[in-house]
């Protein structure tokens, strides 16, 4: 059984600072890392591999080249990896990302299970999984918090707002995964060392038979602005003797009328 894991590289959110004049995020120089949800996806793929005979292939597209993310995938249980890097990916909308992923998945071929996060750590739009399923004409099961392979089917518990649904679909299938599905293990030093010797391939747009013109049509959503909301917090830090700090805090809260006496 072949499992394809789609992994997104994201900017390290913890390191972004705000430009105080424009209120925009300062993104230059911020490292690109694997998203948090991807760790759950890889953990799940690895768990399946431990129970069934399976090969896990990591797939990542991005710009600059997502080699850090690919290495992380290989350290977290993927057997081999495919990446695509192109400047056009930087501004591609979800339909475009899904198109590229779907083409690459088709080229990988012979897939039984395609796993993605339910939404990326940065944008969390939740669009790419359903779109990939749509393009490939495969069943889609989203928001998985339990996943089991039973013969030629997946049985999945989906977490929705008001209920849990147990759903079944025949392989091949696209599944999006929630963070609740597992607790990703931390790769051992050996895992990390082995990762760099696992096979990696780098494909171009030509390799997946997709033209730049076709992808240009997927710049369908234009960003007008991206700003931090006005922040009017006081940022007062009390560092006195604890009793005094607590009193100062309470005095201020009462003064602001947020605590009823």
């Amino acid at each position: 059984m072949r499992i394809v894991v789609c992994a997104k590289q994201v900017v390290d959110l913890a390191q972004i600072r705000m430009n105080r004049e424009t209120r925009e995020p300062i993104l230059s120089g911020i490292p690109l890392i694997i998203g948090d949800i991807e760790k759950n996806v890889l953990e799940e793929a690895t768990r399946i591999k431990e129970q069934h005979k399976a090969e896990v292939i990591a797939l990542s597209i991005g710009w600059p080249q997502p080699d850090g993310t690919i290495l992380e995938c290989l350290g977290r249980g993927a057997d081999r990896a495919v990446m695509l890097a192109d400047p056009i990916f930087e501004t591609l909308s979800s339909t475009g990302v899904a198109t590229v992923l779907a083409k690459a998945i088709e080229k990988i071929g012979d897939y039984a299970l395609i796993l993605l996060g339910e939404g990326s750590t940065d944008n969390n739009s939740g669009q790419v999984g359903p779109m990939v399923a749509q393009i490939l004409g495969l069943p889609l099961v989203s928001y998985a918090r339990q996943l089991e392979i039973v013969e030629d089917k997946v049985r999945i518990v989906k977490g929705l707002e008001d209920c849990f649904e147990t759903a079944e679909a025949s392989l091949p299938v696209v599944v999006t995964v929630s963070a609740e599905i597992n607790e990703p293990r931390i790769p051992t030093i050996l895992d990390v060392m082995e990762a760099s010797s696992k096979p990696q391939e780098s494909w171009s747009l030509g390799d997946i038979e997709i033209s730049r013109e076709e992808l240009e049509q997927h710049h369908s959503v234009k960003v007008l602005s991206n700003q931090y909301p006005e922040q009017t917090r006081k940022n007062i830090l009390f560092q006195e003797e604890l009793g005094k700090s607590v009193d100062s805090l309470l005095q201020n809260l009462v003064k602001e009328g947020v605590l009823e006496r």
Binding site: P139, C163, T166, A167, S225, P229, L237, E256, E260
Partner: protein, 320 residues
């Protein structure tokens, strides 16, 4: 006439979205139509007309008895065609996002999910949503002729309804059988608490060393008449509190008068859930914890010392 098509798998959410959609349709000189799928679709149409819909495209096809995102998006794709819809306004529930994404792919449309607001600017439909893990607001518009936007549920003001007529159009849909079979559905156990409604929210995070110590937090909550919320880890990974209490991007977004943030580092994912609070007070023993940068007041201290003291002072203060 080109139209705006409104749909949600839950009537209540679609109805909430209608007044705003009506205003947008008017500005764009488009017709406001709705899709209603499933049992009793025809009789359900009345409430849609009362909120401004001109036409209701309905189908009571038995395939809609069980929800299936692909079946629903296929139906909307066909209805979009017959109703000449240019703008699809959906609701950004989990199911709504599945539908929006599949539909956008079928239509070759640009897609925005989790929209916080929509407005017409320079005759463009501009939507805003959270970016960068919930810390920024992204404002964007779709350039494709057809557009799909899913709005976070219950975002807009509702209006007084007035009874009004509309046209019901029963659509003959060509649908494929669902590929995914639902075997079981279990309602989520809901706690009676609704942390989105409290005036005082006590948020607790991984600074807490063990589940038993939640008692300290409960005492503080009792003293101040507040409810307990938590970071995602405390509920999802550790299971110390129910998932109904998760505050953040993937949990509840709360707007209390005051938040006491206890032992929470302040990752952007969590902070997105408290930015609406009037005042934020944080207790943390790490001077560099990001929570202090978004707080009005901070106390640099061990929560195990600070919380009991705070509880005691609150008791005295609120008693006097």
């Amino acid at each position: 006439m080109p139209g705006v098509l409104v749909f949600s798998e839950k009537d209540e959410f679609a109805l909430d979205l209608l007044p705003k959609s009506a205003a947008l349709a008017k500005q764009l000189e488009m017709e406001l139509n709705v899709a209603i799928l499933g049992p009793a679709a025809k009789s359900r149409a009345t409430q849609y007309f009362a909120r401004g819909a001109s036409k209701a495209y309905i189908s009571e096809n038995e395939l809609f008895t069980e929800f299936d995102a692909k079946v629903q998006s296929q139906a909307l794709f066909e209805i979009a065609e017959v109703s000449q819809a240019e703008i699809m306004l959906l609701v950004s529930t989990k199911r709504g996002k599945e539908i929006a994404s599949s539909l956008a792919q079928m239509l070759g449309a640009g897609c925005i999910t989790n929209a916080l607001d929509i407005k017409v600017e320079d005759s463009k439909l501009v939507a805003s949503r959270y970016g960068l893990g919930g810390t920024t607001i992204v404002s964007e518009y779709i350039e494709t002729p057809k557009k799909v936007i899913a709005v976070i549920p219950q975002t807009f003001e509702t209006i007084e309804v007035k009874s009004s007529d509309g046209q019901v159009i029963d659509v003959d849909l060509k649908l494929d059988k669902p590929e995914v079979k639902v075997i079981e559905r279990k309602e989520r156990k809901r706690e009676s608490v609704d942390i989105e409604k409290t005036d005082v929210l006590i948020c607790v995070g991984l600074g807490l060393k063990q589940k038993e110590d939640l008692g300290l937090i409960q005492e503080l909550a009792n003293a101040v008449g507040g409810e307990i919320g938590c970071s995602r880890d405390l509920a999802s990974s550790l299971g110390w509190l129910s998932e109904d209490r998760i505050v953040g991007m993937s949990g509840k977004r709360c707007k209390p008068k005051v938040v006491f943030s206890i032992g929470i580092s302040g990752q952007s994912q969590h902070v997105a859930g408290i930015v609406g609070a009037k005042t934020i007070a944080a207790i943390n023993n790490d001077k560099n914890a990001p929570i202090f940068r978004v707080a009005d007041y901070g106390i640099l201290a061990d929560l195990y010392e600070a919380v009991p003291l705070l509880t005691k002072r609150l008791h005295n203060m609120l008693k006097s």
